[in-house]
């Protein structure tokens, strides 16, 4: 049976969610030979950067590139979780930043709290890599993309010279999830 897996990464501009989405899509589409689309929604201005990035992964052609029924929602701000939790499907998963989200959503989905930003800042010294930490978490949860593919995609997409840091961030995320499991 064919599958369609929908991921929405949400937070605020500057958190690198578009890059994270592209890495996910690239891992799936290039290294795992699936199909994938990544798209984003912007605020009122282009400059601000996107606050929402969506990845659809499937083994078939992907028609609609936006999320219809979310399998996995990452939310790094309270605003984003409030806005989007209702779009998560039954049995879907929500990953929230442990420190930023005070009010957890309730519903027919699973919610995981992971301190992705704190992990990035404290364990890796750069809050900037929170997006990649999150990818580690997502990799473990979703299972649609292989960890290997994700590592390759990270290496290919992050700025030259930061590969190691980012791979470490990825590992950190995977480990963090395994710990809460």
């Amino acid at each position: 049976m064919s599958f369609r897996y929908e991921i929405r990464l949400s937070g605020e501009g500057g958190q690198g969610l578009v890059l994270a989405g592209k890495i996910l899509a690239e891992a799936a589409a290039i290294y795992d030979d699936l199909n994938a689309t990544q798209s984003q929604s912007y605020g009122p201005e282009a400059r601000g950067g996107a606050s929402r990035s969506e990845v659809i992964i499937s083994d078939e052609d992907i028609d609609y590139p936006k999320a219809v029924d979310i399998d996995l929602l990452l939310a790094l701000t309270q605003e984003s979780v409030d806005k989007y939790y209702q779009d998560v499907k039954e049995d879907g998963v929500i990953v929230v930043d442990e420190d930023n989200i005070k009010q957890l959503p309730t519903g027919p989905f699973k919610v995981h709290k992971v301190p992705v930003i704190r992990l990035a800042r404290e364990n890796l010294g750069r809050a900037l890599v929170a997006n990649i930490v999150a990818l580690g978490v997502i990799a473990r949860i979703s299972k649609v993309v292989s960890e290997d593919a994700l590592k390759k995609a990270i290496e290919a997409r992050v700025p030259k010279g930061t590969e190691e840091l980012n791979l470490k961030a990825f590992e950190t995320g995977m480990k963090a999830y395994s710990e809460i499991e």
Binding site: E45, A46, R47
Partner: protein
């Protein structure tokens, strides 16, 4: 103690601009100048084009008009011609005023119509993400000048002067007090007045050109500004990379709305209205 908030539309705050963007500093200098001049809020019409800087009027409790990219001066011209009693202030960026809007800018200067233009020069298209602008310095980088800018930049103030403006001044966000004074003078001046406000865009210009944060860029302004009196004694080479600040032009010229008023007065005296 000056209360900026009397002029703010507080419900629209915080400002849309990035952390460290200089536009807010210029905005405050302008509010102080307006306040000093004791102009009633109803009597101010603030007109902008499109760009980061052009979002400014939306935050202020005046008659505010956000037009199309590059065209603010044309709308402002219509307003001024119809209601000369309004103080019409144009808020515009380097791209807005001198790229797409360059023609209107020079023609308003030529007519010497009584508008005050506050031109936010950050050397880049901020709003659209850092494309090269007509004021991006030679060799500097931008998203559409990935190998460094191969074009010469405008000297905006020189252009305004050559086109016919009666008042032209330049100051930096760093020197906000000077900026305030120059804006005050510009508003007072009857005729086309331009204040070129040099303002840092750390997000799309500073980062790409390794010029650091807003703080770093203000420090750069501090270290590289030269008052016009001093600049007049320096040669071209010494002036390389410097920002010449102060009043660059201040002269009396026929102002087009006043000239038109003379015509109107002539006919209304004549009482001659034919159809």
């Amino acid at each position: 103690m000056f209360d900026y908030e009397q002029y703010l539309r507080k419900s629209k705050m915080p400002l849309i601009w990035c952390a460290g963007c200089g536009d807010g500093i210029v905005m405050k200098a302008m509010l102080r100048a307006i306040h000093k001049l004791q102009i009633a809020k109803d009597d101010i019409c603030m007109v902008s084009g499109i760009g980061c800087s052009s979002r400014l009027p939306g935050y202020l409790d005046f008659n505010t008009l956000h037009t199309t990219h590059g065209r603010a001066i044309t709308f402002a011209t219509g307003i001024k011609m119809v209601k000369p009693e309004l103080h019409v202030i144009v808020i515009t960026g380097d791209g807005d005023a001198t790229a797409i809007g360059g023609n209107h800018f020079i023609h308003a200067a030529r007519r010497n119509i009584d508008l005050t233009v506050i031109l936010f020069n950050n050397h880049i298209y901020g709003m659209t993400g850092g494309q090269v602008s007509p004021t991006t310095p030679f060799t500097k980088h931008a998203s559409t000048a990935p190998y460094g800018n191969i074009e010469n930049p405008f000297d905006i103030s020189g252009l305004a002067a050559a086109a016919g403006a009666s008042f032209v001044a330049r100051a930096t966000a760093y020197n906000a007090i000077q900026l305030e004074k120059l804006i005050q003078k510009a508003i007072e001046k009857k005729g086309f007045s331009v204040v070129e406000a040099m303002t840092p865009c750390p997000t799309t210009y500073g980062r790409r050109n390794r010029e650091g944060t807003g703080v770093d860029m203000l420090l750069y302004q501090k270290d590289n500004s030269v008052p016009v009196a001093k600049a007049n004694k320096m040669d071209a080479e010494e002036l390389q990379g410097k920002i010449v600040t102060g009043v660059l032009v201040d002269r009396e010229k026929a102002e087009c709305r006043q000239e038109y008023q003379n015509l109107l007065d002539h006919f209304s005296k004549e009482g001659e209205v034919d159809s």
